[in-house]
Symmetry: C2
């Protein structure tokens, strides 16, 4: 998917919401556990109830790997369902991969070609030749970890290298990589005050912003500092939406939570 | 597995060789493609032919994910086969994972509990709370990326933060993490000259050293700078061993290549 198509979807839905499909079978409604594929059944219900309110879905692969083959089947079914039923939706494999060149190519093929995701999150630690294999895929997007939403972000990411923090070095350096127009970046909502600085380095790129809601980030603040003239933001919420209810009304409850965020987004979009 | 058990295995086999099981179906002997599970058939033949010459096997998960469900089944079968048939062998899931706390816990459970690996490689970019969930598993090992074997290592890892290179910051900082005795580190053989410096920071930890052979690293040089009184090294070779032949003699050919490396290791071990 092109960023142009993503932007058109944002405008038509008045939403830049991404819903994180982080399925934990200990947290889904009990009646779903009788289903042949409870993970997919949960995802399908959430997707059918919320697809008009969001522009992206982001399964975190850890939650699927934790269930072995059953988890991978559910991931495959989920992405296939999205691509067939709601092809306008932007899909993100939150996998945080990254390896030496030929191995990164294997990961890129797995997520882009085989599974059919529009994008994948990638860790920057191994540098240029670990990321460029992902960037080589046309109309696919590589979402590079820059400044993450967790406390551990302060261990290395915010430490200064020659006067410039590591996450800024990552932003600055990555701009010179081949096909860097296919880059987006992860910036945690819990660090909204950093967004103005980040926008000076990458004014145009889309940012995937986790941490609104459960992790304490504030939507209004993120938009104030991080939005650009093409919106440039995908705001992710996972637990706050998908676990809104543990009862048979879970899908409706998730739609209600998504609607609350989408409504705030519609108001913000009117103002720009 | 405890590091004590690993060391005993090293002494008894006179080897600190790790074999990387990075199966690419374009590179395996043609006759295997007729097998119901060609990836596992290849791994089983390599393992049966080389298990007495090495102390560890390291499947890189990218190569399995690239084949979807079929790949994951083959990975499960491979680790189960190793644990049942050769329980003395140290197993490494080369997955380079790392995520926010609760998500890292999902990955740790997947690799340690469900699949039954002894260790997993983890990326440090997200800091302490992304790594400690892995460290919490008793007698399991977290192999942290420090200085990788690729060219991209020079993009960020060797850049100085307050006078100390990022990879040294990672080494130094990680020592203070809870259960840090469960840490090992990835240090590429292509950067052997850095090993003396690394040993000043982490004299006791085991190092997993990829890049000997195909990537150009030198065994003698790595041992000279990186070995400690408990050996402290696992030297990985992947392509140089497993693709020694494309014919029906591939397993014997891989054993020959492994034997060449093991013989050099036996000589080196005699000298310490």
């Amino acid at each position: 998917m092109t960023t142009k198509a993503l932007l058109e979807q944002i405008k038509s839905k008045k939403s830049f919401l991404c819903i994180g499909l982080d399925v934990d079978l200990n947290k889904v409604p009990k009646h779903l556990l009788e289903d042949e594929d409870p993970i997919f059944a949960f995802n399908k219900a959430i997707i059918d109830a919320t697809h008009h309110l969001c522009v992206a879905y982001k399964p975190n692969t850890a939650f699927y790997e934790a269930y072995g083959i059953m988890g991978w089947k559910a991931l495959e079914k989920t992405i296939s369902y999205l691509n067939e039923r709601y092809p306008e939706i932007f899909t993100i494999a939150d996998a945080k991969r990254g390896d030496i060149g030929n191995t990164s190519t294997m990961y890129a093929k797995a997520f882009f070609d085989d599974l059919g995701f529009d994008s994948v999150t990638v860790a920057p630690y191994m540098g240029k030749d670990s990321v460029e294999p992902f960037l080589a895929f046309k109309d696919k997007h590589t979402i590079l970890l820059a400044l993450t939403s967790n406390q551990g972000a302060f261990d290395f990411q915010t430490k200064a290298i020659d006067g410039l923090e590591l996450y800024k070095q990552v932003l600055e350096t990555s701009k010179s990589w081949e096909n860097s127009e296919n880059l987006m970046y992860v910036v945690g909502a819990t660090k909204a005050e950093y967004l103005a600085e980040i926008r000076k380095i990458i004014p145009d790129a889309f940012l995937l912003v986790p941490g609104v809601g459960a992790q304490g980030g504030n939507l209004q603040e993120v938009c104030e500092h991080g939005m650009n003239s093409n919106v440039g933001l995908l705001i992710n919420s996972s637990r706050g939406i998908i676990y809104a209810s543990k009862n048979t009304d879970f899908a409706e409850a998730s739609a209600q939570k998504a609607f609350e965020l989408q409504s705030q987004m519609a108001t913000i979009l009117q103002e720009i």
